[in-house]
Structures are given as structure tokens and as C-alpha cells.
């Protein structure tokens, strides 16, 4: 990066200094400010979910249940899951970076429906209040999946308020997805054709489809659980001939695609960052764009792989297994294209790029172990063991969260106009990578050896691997603190970033950092294909 030249000037009018009152934030219709509101809210929930994770890891240090009772432990992993999935991962990249970047990347002044966008944040917060109420008043212990009939008839914890919270939060997700699709269809700048869209936009388009088509099904399902619990109208109640498996079908119809709500935007981030730091045109643009859509579509037809052992017919299992294998194809297409992008690139290793390298390795392991689980026979062996826990943490924490951090580092200068300290941030990236693998790789082995999930006690043979996992989690925890320190430091001491600190391509880098309230003085006219990087640019950058 440039260290010799004079510090760029901080722009005079930005979305950040356009009003300082609380009202100017809480009633803002500016997509960038709403992105920041989301950033603050989800960071809080990430910390809360992390706290539950910490308690879980501490309990598992020893084979005996000594830190907490089994009931308390049930609540810990339930609340960890609910907070991390519904209140952090599902909104994370779309609600923060999607909100901030989708209009700018396509050359628009705002999302199509700014008021709906603000409403989505309020829905998120309202849902969060219900969930927090449930947590504070004693917690919920059904697991994040709310399986019936436990959740409807037996659980003695705050199921209804949690369900209401998730139902309301679901609307925020629907609002965001709907807004993105309309914006991408209707608000592209002149010359911004479909195949000039940044891959980040394609990823968000695919994600939004899942958000608007999947989330309503979760909504009605979770509402039915509430109705059954509160009014005794038992759709899933075997006493009326109800079928608990129907709940699982409806729940996973959303919740499997929800994995792609978390990982598709992450893949969009990877595509943006990797081409910038390899100084090369992205390899296989069309393949990457199409594979996002394929993942979104195929993702709707694989939900049955969660029910291989819960009385689903073998033939249904067979079909779901084959379809689940198919999802590996578009995912692999992406990994191959990213790797090919690196080939003969002028690669540099700034913090965002380190997270990208981490992502590719970790996502590959997470994806391949997904194939183990998609296989009918293998799944019978590792079903409901730590193998599953390790697999989805490789996708959701190793994958989605590392990409989220890559995005934080890559676009932080755009959002705030400030540079973070590169050296410290790189240390953070390495700590996250090492800590993550130390935490979760032992869990693959634990699961394969037969350690079931959801237990707070275990046989002494497993202790060594559990200690390793907990030690890794401490490294990971420190790793997460480092970017926080970098970003806070940069707000006070950071150098001004200038419009394009990475010398990246894309419309967001053509406007000042931080951008003015209406993004563009004049709506840009797009005349070239995306990612026109040349390797010479790097020599300028490192002069």
C-alpha cells in the first residue's frame, strides 16, 4: 500500500457527518447508515453468542458435568445456536455489507424501498427484544431446531417468546431480500448489464431469492409451534394424528437453504477480494455467477438429508442424498475458479486476503465433510455426533465468518474513511485461522469416535481432544478481539483512506470514502466489464 505519498484528504460531506443527532440515525433512510445500525446490533449478538460458546467450551474441559447442570447446558447450546444463526449469521453480510454496497455497486442512490429497509432493522430489533427477554428470563432449551413434540408439549422454558422473536426477525430478512431483488432488477445504472454486475451482487441476488422464498415457510412453521403450545391447536401433535416429522420437513425446508443465506454472500465477498489482491481478472465470471444461482435453486431440494434417521422413507433418503451431492458441484466450481484466479496473479497478503485464503481452505474441508453426511450409510454412523457439529462450524464459522471478517477489513476504509493497522490485522487473521482449526478439527475426530452432540458429560477417553478444542477456542476468541482493536484504533488514529486505498475496481471505489449521502453526484455510466485488473497496478501500489 502507499506509505510514501501525502495522506489523502478526508471528504467534507459524508453520510457520517450528515447529522449527528440520535434521531438522524434512528430515523435514517440512508442504506449506508442502516448498514451501520445493523453492524452495531449484530456485533452485540456475536459477542453474546460467543459468551455462550465460551461457557460451553469451559464445561467440556472435563468429562464430568461440573460447571453447570445438564438443564443449564441445554440452554447454553440452544441460545448459542439461536443467537448465532438467527441474530448474527443470517443478517451478517447481507444486512451490513449488502445494505451498504448493493446500491453503490450497481450505481444507484439507495435501495428501491428505503423505508422498508429501515423497517427491516426495526423488525430485527423487535425480534431481538423477544429473544433477549427469553434469554434473560430463564432461557430456552429446545435446541435451535425446536423439534416437536419436545418444543410443543414438554419443554419447560421460554419457547413462545423465542419463537415470536424468530418470526419477527424473519420479516426483517424477507424485507431485506425483497429490497435487494427489486433494486438489482430496477435500479442499475446505464451500462450496468447483468453480466457486468459484480459477483457480490450475483451472490446477493441468489441469497435474496432464498430469503423471500424460504423464510415465510419458517415463519408459518414456527407460528404453528407457538399456536400448538399456546392454544393447544396441535398440528404436529400425535394425539390428533399429527406428524412430528412434518415439522422437520417444514423446518428444514427453510433451514437447509438458510445455510446458503449464510454462505452465498460470503462467496460473493471472496470473489471481490481475491481478484483485487491477485491483481487479475476473475477467472470464470459466468461460472461463478451461475453457480450462485444453482446453489440457491438446488438448495431448496435437499432438506431431507436432515431426516435420514427420523423415519423418512429410504427412497426419499436416496433422492435427497443424490440431490445433496449435486450441491457440491457448483460449490466446487467456485473453489476452482478462485484458485485459477490466483494462477499467475501478482498476489499480495494483506489482512482481507489472508482471510480469503483461510476461507478457501476451511470451506473446502467443510464442503467435503458435507459429502460424508450426505451419504446415507456414513450419516447413520456420524448422525448427531460432533462430526456434524464440526462440519457446520467449518461452513458457518470458518466459511461465513471468515468472509465476514474479510469484508470488514476490505470495506472498512470505504465505510469509515480510515485505514486500520495492517500488521496487527494480519496477526488477527492468522490467530483466527489457527484458533478456528484447533477448535473444530478435533471435533471431527471426536464425532467419528462417537462423541454425541448436546451432552455436557462424556467418557474420559475424549478429554484430550476436548481440551485441544477448548484451547483452540481461546486462541480463536483472542483472534476475534484483534480486529475489534484494529477497527476502534483506526477510528481515532487511522490514516485517511482516500477513495480507493486498495486500487480496486468497482463503482464503490470511484466515490469518496466515506461516501456522501446520495452516493453519486451524477449517476455513473458503466462502459467496461468488471474486474479489469492489470498486474502493473500492483507495482504502483507497492511503490
Amino acid at each position: 500500500m502507499t506509505t510514501d505519498s501525502a495522506e489523502p484528504k478526508y471528504p467534507e460531506h459524508t453520510y457520517l457527518n450528515d447529522g449527528y443527532s440520535l434521531k438522524s440515525w434512528l430515523l435514517t433512510k440512508d442504506h449506508k447508515r442502516i448498514g451501520i445500525l445493523y453492524l452495531i446490533s449484530i456485533t452485540f449478538f456475536f459477542a453474546l453468542g460467543g459468551l455462550f460458546a465460551l461457557l460451553i467450551r469451559l464445561e467440556l474441559l472435563t468429562p464430568q458435568g461440573d460447571l453447570m447442570q445438564s438443564d443449564t447446558y441445554n440452554k447454553m447450546f440452544t441460545m448459542h445456536g439461536i443467537v448465532m444463526i438467527f441474530f448474527f449469521l443470517v443478517p451478517s453480510i447481507p444486512a451490513v455489507f449488502g445494505n451498504f454496497l448493493v446500491p453503490i455497486m450497481i450505481g444507484a442512490r439507495d435501495l428501491a424501498f428505503p423505508r422498508l429497509n429501515l423497517a427491516s432493522w426495526y423488525m430485527y430489533m423487535a425480534g431481538a427484544v423477544f429473544a433477549l427477554y427469553a434469554i434473560v428470563s430463564g432461557g430456552v432449551d429446545t435446541g435451535w431446531t425446536f423439534y416437536t413434540p419436545y418444543s410443543t408439549a414438554h419443554a419447560d422454558s421460554h419457547v413462545i417468546s423465542t419463537a415470536v422473536g424468530i418470526l419477527i426477525m424473519g420479516f426483517s430478512s424477507i424485507f431485506t431480500g425483497l429490497n435487494f431483488i427489486v433494486t438489482i432488477h430496477r435500479m442499475r445504472a446505464p451500462g450496468m448489464t447483468w453480466f457486468r454486475l459484480p459477483l457480490f451482487i450475483w451472490a446477493h441476488y441468489a441469497t435474496s431469492l432464498i430469503m423471500i422464498l424460504g423464510t415465510p415457510v419458517l415463519g408459518i412453521t414456527i407460528a404453528l409451534v407457538g399456536v400448538e403450545r399456546a392454544l393447544g391447536l396441535g398440528i404436529f401433535d400425535p394425539a390428533n394424528g399429527g406428524d412430528p416429522l412434518l415439522f422437520q420437513h417444514l423446518f428444514w425446508f427453510y433451514s437447509h437453504p438458510a445455510v446458503y443465506i449464510m454462505i452465498l454472500p460470503a462467496m460473493g465477498v471472496i470473489s471481490e477480494v481475491i481478484t483485487c489482491f491477485a491483481r487479475k481478472v476473475i477467472f470464470g465470471y459466468g461460472f461463478i455467477a451461475t453457480s450462485s444461482m444453482l446453489i440457491a435453486i438446488l438448495g431448496f431440494f435437499v432438506w431431507g438429508h436432515h431426516m435420514y434417521v427420523s423415519s423418512q422413507s429410504e427412497y426419499a433418503g436416496l433422492i435427497f442424498s443424490a440431490l445433496s451431492f449435486l450441491v457440491a458441484i457448483p460449490s466446487a466450481i467456485k473453489v476452482f475458479n478462485w484458485t485459477a484466479t490466483l494462477y499467475k496473479g501478482s498476489i499480495t497478503f494483506e489482512a482481507p486476503m489472508l482471510y480469503v485464503f483461510g476461507f478457501i481452505g476451511v470451506f473446502t474441508i467443510g464442503g467435503l465433510t458435507g459429502l460424508f453426511l450426505a451419504a446415507l450409510g456414513m450419516d447413520r454412523h456420524v448422525h448427531d455426533t460432533y462430526f456434524v457439529v464440526a462440519h457446520f462450524h467449518y461452513i458457518m464459522v470458518g466459511g461465513a465468518l471468515m468472509a465476514y471478517l474479510a469484508a470488514m477489513h476490505f470495506w472498512w476504509p470505504k465505510m469509515t474513511g480510515k485505514r486500520y493497522p495492517e500488521g496487527l490485522a494480519m496477526v488477527g487473521a492468522i490467530a483466527v485461522f489457527v484458533g478456528f482449526n484447533m477448535t473444530f478439527f478435533p471435533q471431527f475426530i471426536l464425532g467419528y469416535l462417537g462423541m454425541p452432540r448436546h451432552y455436557h458429560e462424556y467418557v474420559p477417553e475424549f478429554q484430550f481432544l476436548h481440551i485441544m478444542s477448548t484451547a483452540g477456542a481461546s486462541v480463536l476468541g483472542v483472534g476475534y478481539l484483534i480486529p475489534g482493536v484494529c477497527f476502534l484504533w483506526s477510528l481515532i488514529h487511522g490514516r485517511n483512506a482516500g477513495p480507493n486505498p486498495w486500487e480496486a475496481k468497482g463503482l464503490e471505489w470511484t466515490i469518496p470514502s466515506p461516501p456522501p449521502t446520495h452516493n453519486f453526484e451524477e449517476i455513473p455510466v458503466v462502459t467496461e466489464e468488471p474486474y479489469q485488473y492489470t498486474s502493473e497496478a500492483s507495482s504502483v501500489r507497492h511503490s
Partner: protein, 229 residues
């Protein structure tokens, strides 16, 4: 093109022109309706599954519903879709009085639908056809209307009524929401907000109302006409 009313621009700052604004709003409404289809979809899946499993009980339950009231309500809703369409037409052609009257008629019909629904539900309550500890159902009486009475179980009839209440209840909530937005349209229309250049809200609420109508068109045969020839 007059894109202002009382000096206030109807064009939001982030759109290039009214045309773009309108096409965005229309696409948004269609996507919203797609989410609604999926929302009701979960219930229709549950209904289909249990109807296949407990056909006898569902036929018996269906025979407890009043076809007359169901038909009346179907007619009411279809007519209200017509008056809604006329309201859109009135707004589009700048006939203010016509648009207002059509919207008012739609409101009246939507209200009538809810009144009929109220009588239907209260009759069910009187006959203890409410799932819960009080639920009563005369199996021998129902045996006459089903082909295989030995397969009939009272708890499965209960499931039929659970679905009946949830599905018509959720539809009813949509009718109430419709009444709310149409009433708002009416007050706006009376102020003369809509014209041949600007009538998007009327058109979009119209789409919503037709959707509510279509949901009922599916609910009516599924719930009321099961097993009747």
C-alpha cells in the same frame, strides 16, 4: 407529466423517473405475494398430508361446514375483487367519484365476508366443534356420509377442525389487513391523490386483494366440498 401534488414531489430522490419508481413498486408487490404463497404453502402441505392420511375423518369434518354460507362468502369475495378492479380502473381513468364508490363497495363486501365468517365460527362453537377439551363429534351420525366408517377416528376430525380454524383464521387476518389498506386508499382517493399519471398504490393494493381472493378460492373447495358429489 405532472409529478407533483401541492408542490410536493411524488418522485423519491433515489429514482430517475416515475416510470422506474412504478416498476420497482410493482415488482416489489409481486415478490411480496410470492412470499405470501410460501407462507400459506406450509399450511396447504400440512392439509394435503393429513387429508391423504385421514380421508374419512376429513370428509366427515367437511360435512359439518355449511355449504350455503361458504358459497355466499365465495360470491361476496369474487364480487369484491370485481369492485376492487373497478376501483383501479376509476383511479387510472381519473374518475374520482367512481373510484371512491368502488373502493367503498369493496370495503362493504369485505366487511360482509367477515360477518358471515363470524356467524359460521360461532355456530361451530355452539356445536362444540372447537378443538380442545370440549370437542364433541357424533361419529355414528357422520358414518352415513363416509365410505369406510370403520376408519373414522374422532381425533382426526379434530385435526380437520384445527386446520380449518388456522387456515380460515389466517385468511381472515389477511382480509382485516386488506380492509385497513383499502380504507386508507379510500381517504387518499377522496383527497384526489390519484390520477391517470399516478395510481400505483391503488393498483398494488388491488393485486393484494385479488391474492386474498385467490387464497379463498383454494380454501373453499378444500375445506367445504370434500367428498361431496
Amino acid at each position: 407529466m405532472s409529478d407533483t401534488l401541492n408542490g410536493q414531489s411524488r418522485l423519491a430522490h433515489h429514482f430517475v423517473d416515475l416510470q422506474q419508481q412504478k416498476s420497482a413498486a410493482t415488482l416489489g408487490m409481486w415478490l411480496f405475494l410470492a412470499t405470501e404463497v410460501l407462507f400459506f404453502g406450509g399450511l396447504f402441505v400440512a392439509y394435503t398430508l393429513y387429508k391423504l392420511k385421514y380421508y374419512e375423518a376429513f370428509v366427515a369434518g367437511s360435512h359439518e361446514l355449511s355449504i350455503t354460507l361458504g358459497c355466499v362468502n365465495t360470491a361476496i369475495l369474487i364480487t369484491s375483487s370485481l369492485t376492487m378492479a373497478l376501483g383501479v380502473y376509476g383511479a387510472q381513468t381519473g374518475r374520482k367519484a367512481f373510484a371512491c364508490n368502488s373502493l367503498l363497495a369493496t370495503l362493504a363486501l369485505a366487511g360482509a365476508f367477515l360477518v358471515v365468517k363470524y356467524f359460521e365460527w360461532s355456530a361451530k362453537f355452539e356445536h362444540h366443534l372447537v378443538p380442545g377439551p370440549d370437542f364433541q363429534f357424533d361419529v355414528t351420525h357422520a358414518a352415513a356420509v363416509v365410505a369406510n366408517p370403520e376408519l373414522l377416528r374422532i381425533e382426526h376430525v379434530k385435526m380437520f377442525f384445527i386446520l380449518y380454524y388456522i387456515m380460515t383464521g389466517l385468511h381472515g387476518i389477511h382480509v382485516v389487513a386488506g380492509i385497513g389498506v383499502i380504507a386508507w386508499l379510500y381517504t387518499q382517493a377522496r383527497k384526489g391523490v390519484y390520477s391517470a399519471e399516478y395510481y400505483t398504490p391503488v393498483e398494488l393494493v388491488g393485486l393484494y386483494w385479488h391474492f386474498v381472493d385467490i387464497v379463498w378460492i383454494f380454501l373453499f373447495p378444500l375445506l367445504y366440498l370434500l367428498g361431496r358429489h
